[in-house]
Structure formats: C-alpha cells, structure tokens
C-alpha cells in the first residue's frame, strides 16, 4: 500500500506559501547588479523545495514551472547571468504565478495555464538571451527533468565535473542476496558530491510489512569528475537485483554554489514536509536492520523535528534576519527556508483546537473567580488553608491563561512581510522613490487581531506613499533626500500593541481638509478647530470618498473604514502630522480579544466592567471642585485639564446609591483621545474577565462592548468607553 500523501497536502501548501513569502522577501533585498550570493541561494532553495514537493504530490504543472524558474535561478547563481531589473521583475512575477498555482491546486480549481505559460516563456526567453555558450540547459527548460537530461546528455564529456542522475530501485529480495544499500550509497559518496532522495512510495502498511524485504528506492544525484564505469562498479554486485538507471546531465553547479547541494541539503531539498523527506542517513541506516519500520516512523513524524544537526533558529525570521541567518548557517547546515518550521520543533495546530482550549480556560477562569469569592466569605479553621490553596490556583490559572494565550500569538512580521513588495510596486507605479523601514516586527499579537489588522495597515501604507510622500524632484526642492521613507513600527505599550505607519512626506494638508469640511458643511464657516480636530475630520465617513472622487490629494481614502476596522478590534487610531515633515498614524490594539483586565465598578445594584487599560485614575471629588458648564454639563479640574463628568446611572437609567458626586467615585477614563470622568457608586475590584459577545444572541448596543460572567454566575456588562463618550455627547446635545 502506498503511503497516503494527501494527508501531507495541507502542510505542503502552508509551507510552500511561507517559502514563497521568504522568496519574495529575499528577491526584494536583491541588489541589482551586485546580488548577494546567499540571497540567490535562498531563492534557489525555495524554488527547489517547491519543485520537489509538487513533484512528489503529483502537481506536475507547478513542478514544471518551478523547474524553469530553477534553471534561471541557477544561471544567476552561477554568475552566468546578471541580476537586472527585468530579471528581478520576472522573478517576482514568477512568485505570483507560483502562488496562484498553489492556490488553485489547493482549492482544487483549474490553474490559469495561460498566465503560467506566459511567464514561463519569459523565463525561457531570458535564459536563451543570456548569450552564453552553454545552450544545452535552456534548450528544454520547460520540459520535465528527464527530457532536460536527455538534451544535456549531448555534451557531457566536454566538461570535467559531470552530474549523474542515478535511479536505484532494488528488488525486494535485495537483503537476502547479501547486498546493503547503505554501503553502496556511502561508496558512491566517496566519488563525489551526492544528494539522495529516498522514495518510500512502495512502503506497505506496517501489518503487511516483510521485515526482510527492501521497499525503498533511491534517486541519487552525484556530481564530480566521475566515470560512468565507477558508478557501475559500485552497483556491480547488485545489478541483477535492482533496476538501475544511470544518466548523465550537464553539471550546472559552479564551485561557489556547490555547498548548497551537499548531503544535508539533499535531505530537505525535495520537500522536507513529505513522507519521502526522511533523512537519507536514517533511511539508509534503516535498510540495515529493520529497514522499513524505522522509516515508517520517520515518515509519520515527518512534520516534527527532523534534523537536529541543522541548528536553525526557532523563530521564522523576518527577511533581513533570515538572510543573515542563512549566511551564518548555510555553510554547515544549509537549511532551506522552507524547513524552518520543522527545525524549530514546532507543530501545526488547527486554530479551532486552540480556540476550544481558550474557551475551556475561559470557563476555568470564571470558576476560579467564583471559588475565590466563596473563599473570601468562608470562616473557620480550614478557611485559611482553603484560601492559600485558592491563591495557588489563581496563580496557576493565570499562568495557564498566559500560556494558552501565547499559543495564539504570532509575530507581526506575518503582516509586515507583505509590505516590501507592495511598497516596491506602488513606488514604481507612482514614480516615487520609497524606502520601507520595518522595526519591531517580532512584536507578538493575537492571531485574530493579526488577521484583521492587515487591511487597515495596507491602506495606511498605500496612503502614505500615494498622498504623503512627494515625488523625488519635489522632495529635493524642499531640501529633503529624494528617497522618501515609510516606517512601519510595532511595539508594546502598556498592555497594548502600538503599530505606527510613519512617513517623512508632506504631512496632512490642514487647509485643504478644513476647506473640504467647510464646503461639505461638516464644519461651520467660523468654527476654529485645533490641529487634532482637523486631522480627526479625515476619519469621517463620506469625507474621504469626496476627496477621492474629485481626485484632490489629501488622505482619507477610506479612512473611516480603517478606523472602523480598528475599532472592531477594540483599538484606536490616532494621527499626528507636521507640515513638510510627515505624518504618523498610530494604531493601538489590545493584545488579545478574548480576555480583558477589568475594573469592576458598581452603580446601584448593577456591576459593570471598565477595561483597565483605559483607566487613568480613580478619585473622589470634593464638593466644591466641580463646575457646571452652561447649566447642562459638569466638569472638574484634573491635572490642569477640565474633564467632563458622565453620570453612569443617568446614562444607563439605573437607580444609584450615590447621587452626590462626593458620595461616589470618579473614574477618569480615556477613549479615542478624550478624557471623561465616569461617576460610579464604588470600585469593587480588578479581575481578568472573559469577553462574551452580546452579538451572538442579541445585537450590538452602543456603549457596551460585551458581557462577562462574574464569579457568582451573574452577567456583568463591559463598557465600551468611546461609545459611552459618544452617547453622552449626543445626550448633552439633545
């Protein structure tokens, strides 16, 4: 029975997409004219891995295309072709094509072969045009490997080092005849550089396995100044017991690049994610004693840590770091980018499983809170011990929660990595020179947040390049360097993640925004607005579309959508701008969407949760320190600033215990850059609460972001401060 390969498809697609991302990143770093050979190697390895993987899984279209690409890359790697702008563009286009092909195959949709053929033709054309004497390789680059080798076989003797392709398929009784594949393979290795791929497709199920049979076959690539006879000599004793094909292909490896085809690389080359990817050494060693069982285990474990020798670092490194690491590790371990996952000892887990775990932990937190509450009211000799146990439970719970939460965390580089390409394309299209700087890409973010932050960020970066950065000549005229900078930055900022998109362009055009707002009647003709208020205007719905329709420069193309998306994630977006120096958009996001640190407050008989991150201070006001404004609003002075007071009981229609301000407490909170004081009866305590959506069975309510279940099993509402501030404002206006 052949191994069912479909179970590995998901892993193949995942890793191929990741590999393409890293290939794209490497391509973007590639300097025209003077490419870093390590980068080219990285790119080559990715293409090779995908080719190997897709061939293994029978995705012949992808394999054929990547083969052409590989040929081109090999020319670049060998220095026989120069990396020019058109070549670089072509390679990027190939990445797109490969991605599209993989997507199509993944979705079981037909591949857009026209597009593939176009790009493949371009690739072949590029190879053909290089004008080098070596015509054998490009003669049939699109053909499958066999055809290519046949074409290349014409001129093998002309060169010293040759590359041999050996297909070694022993019959089942090989061991019985006293032959040992391991010995033959190690003997072959002495002849030259060798890379081996084991083919385990004939491997039966464990029950049907004959431990004395040989089920494995090997594809060997051997390189060096080797006579065919020498190879035949190795297989001399086994030639009657196996199928042996020995073919010569023209060597395309240059000495500089040869290290990449050494044996460790061979282990990964043909798809570390497949069953066949088991280590050569293991496979060969297995053939000695109990040949198949060990291999079967290897195959099953193929997703896990395979290659302890290759000391690739754990994290999937961002482009720059990846390149550096490859430079470091390539000589000894030469880990292709694609296998980074396997090497870091990580496993892929379906998101649903993690969500399930999160939910269970959430329920546990509720139960634990309930027990703690119970424990506090307990009396008697055992109470103290009970409480000690509870304290321990609470600590453990918190740790458990943190660990589970960390499982969902991914570095923001997953989002950032798409930008170099976008910036490059956009800059080219707009005729601007843009340098993208990325910092803090290791900052980790909840996966859900991460998935939803991509589009708003794309929008902001696009805006920065389109409207913020000036054309080179304008920049030079303004005394700035011709190359504009867009800076993406992510960092932790007090329980939140702040993501910044900063540019050194012209900044927001205050006058124009204001004029626009006035003409649309959003701002009265005589209203005087602060800069912040003007910048706020760009987030108004509809404001942006008008800007775009009249094609007037000015940001705000869909900025309301950006803000809405960010708000849906419980975050905020702020803008700062300095004329002539640039603008900076800051998105502040919660670390996670599932659990919030909350302050429980009481108003009358109700309990509400105020997210701790938005609380600045809680205080009691003296009777005299509150002033009323125009008879309808109350403000009090807080750190030299007049802060309006929102009486929560009024807003929510609850019967309070305290009606006089000095009888209760004021909680100073911040929402969307505005500060207000919430008047509540009392503060109850701080606790982590699991956010439950009201949406599921009910609907959205302004001022309420969700609900949670308290320790006693009752429901408490979580306040949405921006919503409350808005609501209070409309009430006051009415």
């Amino acid at each position: 029975m052949a191994l069912d390969l479909t179970q590995f498809h998901a892993a193949f697609f995942d890793e191929s997409f990741e590999a393409l991302d890293s290939m794209e990143a490497a391509l973007l770093q590639l300097d025209i004219g003077a490419p870093d050979p390590e980068l080219i190697n990285t790119i080559f390895r990715v293409a090779h891995s995908i080719k190997g993987g897709s061939a293994t899984f029978g995705f012949t279209e992808i394999a054929s295309f990547t083969h052409s690409l590989e040929t081109l890359l090999d020319e670049l790697r060998g220095g026989r072709m120069q990396v020019t702008q058109p070549i670089s563009d072509l390679l990027l286009k190939s990445v797109d094509v490969m991605r599209a092909m993989l997507r199509a195959v993944q979705a079981k949709q037909p591949i857009d072969m026209q597009r593939v053929a176009d790009v493949q033709f371009d690739i072949e054309l590029a190879i053909a045009q290089k004008g080098a004497p070596e015509v054998a390789a490009p003669a049939a680059p699109a053909a499958p490997p066999q055809a290519e080798s046949a074409a290349g076989a014409a001129a093998p003797a002309s060169r010293g080092p040759r590359q041999w392709q050996i297909r070694f398929r022993p019959f089942r009784e090989l061991f019985a005849r006293g032959n040992d594949p391991l010995r033959m393979l190690s003997e072959l290795e002495t002849l030259g550089r060798m890379s081996v791929r084991v083919d385990a497709s004939a491997l039966p199920s464990f029950a049907a396995l004959d431990p004395e049979g040989c089920y494995l076959a090997w594809d060997i690539e051997l390189e060096g100044d080797i006579e065919e006879q020498a190879i035949h000599d190795v297989f001399d004793w086994a030639e009657g017991d196996c199928e042996l094909e020995i073919r010569c292909v023209p060597s395309r490896e240059t000495p500089a690049a040869e290290s990449t085809v050494e044996q460790p690389a061979g282990q990964h080359e043909d798809g570390a994610e497949t069953a066949e990817s088991s280590e050569v050494t293991n496979g060969a060693a297995a053939s000695e004693g109990s040949p198949v069982s060990e291999h079967a285990v290897d195959a099953l474990l193929s997703a896990s840590d395979q290659d302890k020798a290759s000391a690739a670092p754990a994290e999937r490194a961002p482009p720059a770091a990846a390149a550096a690491e490859h430079a470091e590790h390539a000589p000894k371990a030469d880990t292709p980018t694609i296998s980074a996952v396997g090497d870091s000892g990580s496993i892929r887990v379906a998101v649903e499983k993690i969500d399930e775990l999160m939910n269970t932990v959430g329920e546990l937190v509720i139960t634990q809170a309930m027990l703690s509450q119970l424990g506090r009211s307990l009396e008697g000799p055992m109470a103290e011990r009970f409480r000690a146990g509870l304290a321990q439970l609470e600590r453990n719970m918190r740790e458990l929660q943190d660990s589970v939460m960390r499982v969902r965390m991914l570095p923001i580089s997953f989002v950032f990595s798409r930008f170099p390409r976008m910036v490059r394309d956009l800059a080219q299209k707009l005729g601007k020179q843009v340098e993208l700087r990325v910092t803090g890409e290791h900052t980790e973010l909840d996966k859900t947040v991460l998935e939803k932050i991509g589009d708003p960020l794309v929008h902001l970066v696009r805006n920065s390049i389109d409207h913020g950065l000036e054309k080179p000549e304008v920049r030079v005229a303004a005394g700035k360097p011709p190359v504009g900078t867009v800076h993406l930055d992510a960092c932790h900022r007090g329980g939140c993640i702040a993501v910044e998109v900063r540019d050194d362009g012209a900044g927001l055009d205050k006058e124009r925004i204001l004029a626009k707002a006035r003409s649309r009647g959003l701002v009265g003709p005589n209203d005087v607005l602060t800069d912040e208020q003007i910048y706020e205007l760009i987030f108004l719905p509809g404001f942006s579309t008008a800007e775009q329709a009249t094609d007037v420069s000015g940001r705000g193309v869909g900025m309301d959508v950006v803000r809405r998306n960010v708000k849906e994630l419980g975050g905020t977006i702020d803008v700062r701008s300095e004329p002539g120096k640039g603008a900076c958009f800051t998105i502040t996001l919660p670390l996670t969407l599932a659990i919030v640190d909350g302050q429980t407050v009481s108003v009358g008989s109700e309990t509400y949760i105020v997210p701790l991150v938005s609380i600045i201070e809680s205080l009691q006001v003296k009777p005299g320190s509150v002033n009323s404004v125009a008879g309808c609003g109350e403000v009090f002075s807080f750190r030299g600033e007049y802060v309006p007071i929102i009486r929560l009981y009024e807003l929510f229609g609850v019967e309070p215990r305290a009606r006089e301000l000095h009888e209760g407490l004021i909680v100073i909170v911040e929402g969307e850059g505005r500060r207000v004081g919430l008047f509540v009866d009392d503060l109850l305590g701080q606790q982590q609460v699991v956010i439950k959506s009201l949406d599921a069975n009910f609907g959205r309510v302004e001022g309420i972001s969700g609900a949670t279940i308290l320790g006693d099993g009752s429901v408490a509402l979580i306040l949405d401060l921006p919503g409350i501030i808005r609501r209070a404002a409309t009430r006051a206006a009415a």
Partner: protein
C-alpha cells in the same frame, strides 16, 4: 429547571409539508389570562425567573441578559412585547428558552411568561389561521389559532416574533 424532552421524530415538521399533516406538539403557556403556544421543537428548556442584568438603551420588553451555561442570553418580557398590562413576577413566572432562526444564525432567547401550562398535540385540522383584525393590529407573528380541549391557544411563530419584532427594531443594533 425543568427539562423538556424534545421529540426527535418529525423534526422540522414546520417546513415539511407532509409532516404538517401529522400532529405537532406545542408547549402552551399563560400570559395575562390568554393562552399561547410555541412549537416544542424550538424549546431548549424552562427555568425559573431569576434576576437579569439589564442592558441600557434597549426597548423595555428586553429585560436584560442572563448567563445560561456560559452563554449570554437575552430575556424578552412577552407581556410588554404584546403591550399587555405589566404583571407581578410571582413563583410561577418562568423563562422559556427558545431557539430562534434569524437571518444569519440561530439565536437563543428567553421568553418570560406567567406560567407554563401544558404540552398539547395540535393536528393540522385544528389549526385555524389568525383572524384579520384590520389595520393596526399585527397578527403576522401568529402562526394560527388552535382549539385544545375547548380552550383557544394562540400559536406563535417565534422566528417572526423575534427577528422582526424584537431584534430588528433595536436602537443601535444596526450601527
């Protein structure tokens, strides 16, 4: 909490024209002297009236939300919903938890009623369409009127009642 065993056969009987011929089971309850019924296939459970957490700025017939085994479930006061005189919540006041098929997904909602009375079988021939009271009185959430043991039972179409009447009209729900 009293658990009501829902019957597996004739599931989705409402939508199957053949099954419609057979009898359908309804859970009947009292509300200000009138007797109402909901199809038992939608009933998830019945529980005693307990304190709810009010939600600000919602229609008055939304009493609030409760914690039902970890889920947040809104509670609708059917008396207020139908504009009947407000009644005292007494020992027989119960919450019938029902599943409602809304446009996008199923919702779980609790209905506060005066008392649960019975489970009765209603044959297709016993079901009469709701009379037309003329303009101004909506009857579209009434599936029909049935006579059970000489009493009239108003059978509710809870999907209509909830999705159009309750959740759709909530202020702020759309924003």
């Amino acid at each position: 909490m009293t658990a009501i065993a829902t019957q597996t056969p004739a599931a989705d009987a409402q939508h199957d024209p053949k099954a419609r011929q057979a009898t359908e089971q309804f859970l009947t309850f009292r509300l200000a002297g009138e007797e109402y019924g909901v199809t038992i296939l939608r009933v998830q459970g019945i529980q005693g009236w307990d304190r709810v957490t009010p939600i600000p700025n919602t229609p008055d017939y939304i009493l609030g939300v409760i914690n039902l085994r970890g889920a947040i479930v809104p509670i609708v006061d059917l008396r207020k919903r139908f504009g009947l005189a407000a009644g005292e919540f007494g020992p027989t006041t119960v919450v019938i938890v029902v599943k409602v098929q809304a446009q996008r997904h199923d919702r779980t909602i609790g209905l506060v009623v005066d008392a649960v009375s019975d489970v009765c079988n209603v044959g297709a021939e016993d079901l009469k369409p709701a009379p037309n009271f003329g303009d101004g009185i909506r009857t579209d959430f009434i599936q029909g009127l049935a006579t059970v043991e000489g009493r009239m039972v108003i059978l509710l179409d809870i999907d209509r009642l909830i999705s159009e009447g309750v959740l759709g009209s909530m202020p702020g729900a759309a924003s």
